[in-house]
Symmetry: C2
Amino acid sequence: MRTVLGALLALALCGPAAAQALVEKQVFAAGDYRTRAGATIPNVRVGYQIAGKLNAAGDNAVLINHFFSGNAQAWGRYVEGGPVGYWDAIIGPGRAIDTDKFFVVASDSLVNLNVPDSRTTTTGPASVDPGTGKPYGMRFPVVSMRDFIEVQKKLLDGLGVKRLAMVGGASMGAMQTMEWAAAYPAMIDRVMTVIGAEIDPWMIAWLDVWEAPIRLDPAWRNGDYYGGEPPVRGLAEALKIITLQSRDPEWAATLGRGPASGEDPAQTAAGRFAIEKWLDDASAARAKTSDANSLLYLARANQLFLNEYPSQAAALERSPQRWLVLPSLNDRVFLIENMRAMVATLEKQGKRVSTADLVGPLGHLNGVVGMGAHAARVAAFLAE
Amino acid sequence: MRTVLGALLALALCGPAAAQALVEKQVFAAGDYRTRAGATIPNVRVGYQIAGKLNAAGDNAVLINHFFSGNAQAWGRYVEGGPVGYWDAIIGPGRAIDTDKFFVVASDSLVNLNVPDSRTTTTGPASVDPGTGKPYGMRFPVVSMRDFIEVQKKLLDGLGVKRLAMVGGASMGAMQTMEWAAAYPAMIDRVMTVIGAEIDPWMIAWLDVWEAPIRLDPAWRNGDYYGGEPPVRGLAEALKIITLQSRDPEWAATLGRGPASGEDPAQTAAGRFAIEKWLDDASAARAKTSDANSLLYLARANQLFLNEYPSQAAALERSPQRWLVLPSLNDRVFLIENMRAMVATLEKQGKRVSTADLVGPLGHLNGVVGMGAHAARVAAFLAE
């Protein structure tokens, strides 16, 4: 635990950006896990990080769930000068989700995307199947989003958490949050969903569109590419669709309608526009830290969102009373009208819902990168 | 030309659906064409159809431009019982675009998508290069949307058309219409754009996303698949993205969140949801009547929309005074806010703009299938 003196010293020496201690990515051994669909995954491991201190009653915990391509790094740095967690603006000592008061937990999803990152140790299709000594590939069992929650529940049990003062997350993290709210309402005080709502058939189809480039890449080899050349082209194209849909025309406008430097798309079929080049480079870089099969399993888990309930409204009905819902106005993944509809459903069910719109040029991503502007709202929600 | 008696007879015998005579798809030999970028395409041919009669002054013509995956069949049937043109509800004798008054022309775009359709004879990458005796493939020169218009101009000149009472179209047809309005404003009386607006960098990037599955399919072979197996998987995936983006969540909801018949996506990674199966089937069927290289060339022509003008506003500034703009409220291709912005630009430039929103469950496609509801508006615009 960090001391006040240490914090002041760090502040004095390094300024606010370095005020937080480094975070350690840890591994939880969850044992054998039986999926909701009935398959057994031996020796499941899940990566996680914590901050703050759990009180004696075990009821001051906050669980943060990550978005589709994310991982447990919701706050802090693993090494000096390294990248900072995506919600660092609202998680830390004295911040909205105050680690001086709350015990904050964030875990990798099962079948996490960031397999090539050495800190991603969570079990998935790239893991070695102890039964064969080879990576599972597409022989890994299908997992649902509820399975993510069940593995997290084992982690929380292992950490001694009895109650969650809040569970929250952005995008797929909001979806996991809704699964939590339906599965374990009695142990949750508050639910915070950011840029995430119910998933509809339209979105089920888009998830399939995200997957298609991987299946088309001959290097995918039905998922048996481990140890050989991974399907980086297909994976990059998949990540390109996700990147584009997670942003907005306002962002795109900054790149203009012109060609990339040295390219002439009016003359040559292979010529690239500036925005194409930006997306080529961004998605190629992302592909290096991502795993294609894991993307397919993540997409399926999203498609199976709340699949154990007769309807999504029925799942929401089971949830705790207090909600904070933060949609992004120009979201092209979770359309604003769907997020409004979810708020209306919750209110009709008698829940107490606070809501505010995220505004910014980045569309869906406003909920990942723009949370600092809503820190006071999050703090107030936790103080309710 | 059909007689009134003939029309009454047809009506009496067959009912309104068969009231129009069969349409003949014709071929125009445009000669050698030099592209705006400076390449020469020998012996360009373009498919087209006409209805009504051109008057002596040659000034009662209406030109209809088609959408991305469409062709010249804007109205009528080629054979008894065959499919009817997409805007048949508003084009014909006594209809909004009255072929008893107007000489209506519709042509295939250069590089038209529907190559396997024997009535599609328009020159493109699947055509034989007379210089080599083999299909062009990706050696076909890049063409811009302005090139589409220049080839159509040759067709209109060949038909003796001096003035256009109206030029109009849906989606890419609206874009071609805007190219026409900027290129030949002095010969156009009215401009009608349906579900189409300016193209922005966001859309340039989406066009690249549409293309990616084709380039990933090993059967594509850099475009040299003619005579062998075409890249139907990649082409189908490309068409799937276009189909999905051209529709709307309201439509998707009719297919539900459940699995396809006999499938169990909660158990098997290859299992399909109902909406995935619908899109699989629809896009596989569409792939059989489409050509992959032509899709790539069409996408590029769209990316090069109005590329000869300093800005799209500058192109609109050059256009005729009278506009009818019909956006679709839930359009996911041409976002409603962009269409509103185009109307605002036109009004600021002093144009006379009528506008009304298309409403329906099909998103972008409301402008292709839902025009019957706006027939009176189109007729009034033509009577102005």
